[in-house]
């Protein structure tokens, strides 16, 4: 482009200005999603209506986590319409107000403040990743509103918010598994396949990758596994030849990692192009959702991941009485989609809320958190017990291991088969790990 007229800005300056403006645009682009599906209510009118706020990522990169939400919220709305909540002898109508974080942790905190200040939420629930639950819980802690969260490993939830052995939280409670569980489950799956005990690690430079890389090598080292860690990479990396060369050089017959789904798809295709074929691959996060597994294609057959909930889990809902299988079937019938793991946990959030309110015998916030601090309740996600958690505020849920298998002519292209239950023997397995390739 030749623009040489002296009276006009030169190309260089135009370029710099356009770049600066476009850069600013790029930065904000990710922050501007739409408020899809948020059912804003106008509750908080006191009286005999109880307002439960629910914060979840329904749009943006984490939206897959929120896909089960509208089903569960609709189900709960219908349930509460038929079964008003009996708290301390008073009958309450329940209103559920849903807020979308747009996968943005700053917005998660903002919408929580809206729930508390504008909607008059008596109780706030939140689910899906530390990026969602931590800001929500922090906001509730600051405002003195009871908060129950799930679907984020407990270490980033507790330690990531400044919890220590000596100091815990007054208003916020959480249930999920932790790193120690996923370490045990992965090792049990590795032990089912004959390997040289060399593992290659695909760890991104994000909170998950940092936590895993700090903890995993020492723990599995005690059992004779040695990990090749080429270093933490940035999410969104497009070329994995450095990792693939390192894994090949070390003859890593085990692959483990916690990449985001598109990065794993990129890696796995390049690994095949460049001839890296592990005997077993245990991958978290990227293989959570059936749609992500389908998107990988035929080569997803045999990949392993951790399983926090499945239709085979022998638990029932304390509200609807449904078994895990019945809940998953209801979801598949209502949406026409394959079940996903968050369904059970989002359902359990409402179970815990009801149990805490009933136990408290009052909608007073202090009474609710007092009840939560020693709550024991059996939910569709397992038996939860806040008196025996690893730290205060946290109740553990069981974790098992699963393998994605291509189903020949089945209802779905891939089925998640439970293959390891060393950490939770009450959950039945349906097979053992089959080596890749």
């Amino acid at each position: 482009m030749h623009r040489r007229t002296p009276s006009r800005p030169g190309p260089a300056r135009t370029a710099v200005r356009a770049v600066a403006a476009a850069g600013a645009g790029l930065l904000t682009l990710s922050a501007c999603g739409g408020g899809l599906g948020s059912a804003d209510g106008d509750g908080g009118d006191g009286g005999d209506t109880l307002t439960i706020g629910y914060v979840t990522p329904q749009s943006g990169p984490l939206a897959a986590f929120g896909e089960a939400d509208s089903f569960v919220v609709d189900q709960m709305t219908a349930y509460f319409a038929d079964n008003p909540l009996e708290i301390g002898g008073t009958s309450y109508d329940v209103e559920i107000v849903v807020k979308d974080t747009q996968s943005d942790s700053v917005r998660a905190g903002e919408v929580t403040a809206e729930l508390i200040n504008d909607d008059g939420a008596d109780l706030v629930l939140a689910a899906s990743t530390p990026d969602t639950v931590n800001p929500v819980a922090d906001q509730c802690e600051a405002n003195g509103v009871p908060c129950i969260t799930t679907a984020a490993p407990w270490q980033p939830y507790f330690f990531g918010r400044g919890g220590t052995e000596g100091s815990s939280f007054d208003w916020t409670y959480h249930f999920f598994w932790g790193l120690e569980d996923v370490e045990a489950v992965y090792q049990d799956m590795w032990s089912q396949v004959d390997t040289n005990r060399q593992a290659g690690a695909l760890w991104p430079n994000d909170p998950d990758g940092n936590a895993w890389s700090a903890d995993f090598p020492g723990v599995v080292g005690e059992n004779g596994y040695s990990i090749t860690d080429p270093g933490l990479y940035e999410n969104g990396t497009q070329d994995y030849s450095a990792q693939i060369s390192a894994f090949q050089a070390a003859d890593d017959q085990i692959l483990l990692g916690v990449p985001i789904p598109p990065d794993f798809a990129t890696f796995w295709q390049q690994a095949q192009q460049q001839g890296y074929t592990p005997r077993i691959a245990t991958v978290a996060k990227a293989l959570l959702f059936p749609s992500a597994v389908e998107a990988i294609g035929d080569s997803a057959d045999g990949l392993c991941t951790e399983v926090w909930w499945s239709p085979q889990h022998p638990f029932t809902s304390s509200l609807t009485g449904q078994s895990a299988q019945e809940l998953a079937d209801a979801y598949e019938e209502a949406t026409g989609r394959q079940w996903t793991q968050p369904i059970g946990f989002v359902h359990a959030l409402f179970e815990v809320a009801v149990a805490a309110l009933t136990e408290a015998g009052s909608t007073d916030g202090q009474a609710v958190v007092d009840a939560l601090s020693s709550l024991q309740v059996s939910t569709i996600a397992g038996d939860l017990d806040w008196t025996s958690g690893p730290v205060p505020n946290v109740a553990k849920t069981p974790l098992v291991g699963g393998q994605w298998r291509a189903s020949d002519g089945g209802e779905h292209p891939f089925d998640l088969v439970v293959v390891s239950n060393s950490e939770a023997p009450e959950i039945p397995t349906a097979g053992t790990v089959e080596p890749l390739g």
Binding site: M1, A15, A22, G25, T237, P262, F289, S291, A292
Partner: protein
């Protein structure tokens, strides 16, 4: 050998970046519009190919026969109906319009297709490779993507250099008013330029969609790397964009070979260094669009 491997894989990646960035470069070169919707438009094209594959069983490359003309038509309509109007509103107006368009498109895709990850299935082509030596294998698909990038850029370059429309486009780009005095309709030419740009975006979208999984939110990363390739090479310079893509790809691959943490970072650092020391890019006055 791992260094050779890193450079080779980086060059192939750079070819893909150039393919993605070609349309961005053309639109900026001709109209000085930075199209922030570029990444989302690539995702839109990938969804188009996905729908054709899902309903008619078309191979992604065959789907290009439909997706490319449709996206070109969309580009022409977009330019005539929206961006030409915005061009009169100063430097920021087109930028804001494309930004708004990106947000609208991304959420429309989310409504239409949900947040599920998808991928365009290439079958065995996706994982096929050519072993060169021990420890160095070149994937057939990355090679194809890189070659396509070079071909697309060469084709646009030839179009601009040799056809009457191409010359008119360059004339309009240099001085729209003078070109109008010669009887050249700038609005139409801008429409044609955006049509060509979106045709290349369609090709890029299909390659991106076959390379990894995509979802409605996938456009952002694509846009950043494409943008860096354009700036490194020199804004508005097509061959510069190819060079910029290769420089970015090699920087990322070699950086990652040092330590995976430096992969993406090395690309950004090269981008910043070029912007600071040669703000017009590496090839500012080569074949210009």
């Amino acid at each position: 050998m791992s260094w050779v491997n890193a450079v080779v894989q980086g060059i192939l990646l750079g070819g893909l970046y150039a393919l993605v960035a070609a349309g961005l470069s053309l639109v900026f070169g001709v109209m000085r519009i930075v199209n922030l919707a570029h990444g989302v438009l690539a995702v839109l094209a990938a969804f188009g190919a996905y729908v054709l594959g899902d309903t008619l069983g078309l191979h992604p490359f065959l789907a290009l026969l439909v997706v490319v003309p449709v996206m070109a038509a969309v580009g022409y309509g977009l330019q005539r109906g929206l961006l030409n109007r915005a061009l009169g509103g100063g430097e920021l107006a087109p930028l804001l319009v494309t930004f708004g368009l990106a947000v609208v498109l991304q959420n429309a895709l989310l409504e239409a297709f949900s947040a599920d990850s998808r991928r365009l299935d290439l079958g065995s082509l996706g994982t096929a490779s050519i072993p060169v030596t021990d420890g160095l294998a070149v994937g057939v698909f990355p090679l194809l993507a890189a070659v396509t990038g070079v071909v697309v850029i060469a084709a646009i370059g030839q179009f601009l250099a040799r056809t009457a429309t191409g010359r008119a486009m360059r004339a309009t780009s240099d001085d729209r008013d003078a070109a109008a005095l010669m009887g050249i309709d700038g609005r139409h030419l801008y429409g044609v330029a955006t049509a060509i740009a979106l045709a290349t975006v369609a090709i890029a979208g299909v390659f991106l969609g076959a390379r990894s999984t995509f979802d409605p939110a996938a456009g952002g990363t694509t846009l950043i790397f494409a943008f860096e390739a354009v700036v490194i090479g020199g804004l508005g310079s097509l061959w510069g964009t190819l060079l910029g893509g290769v420089v970015l790809g090699v920087a990322q691959a070699v950086g990652a070979a040092v330590d995976p943490a430096y992969g993406v970072l090395a690309g950004h650092v090269v981008f910043l260094v070029v912007l600071a020391t040669r703000p017009r890019g590496l090839l500012p006055s080569a074949v210009t669009a």
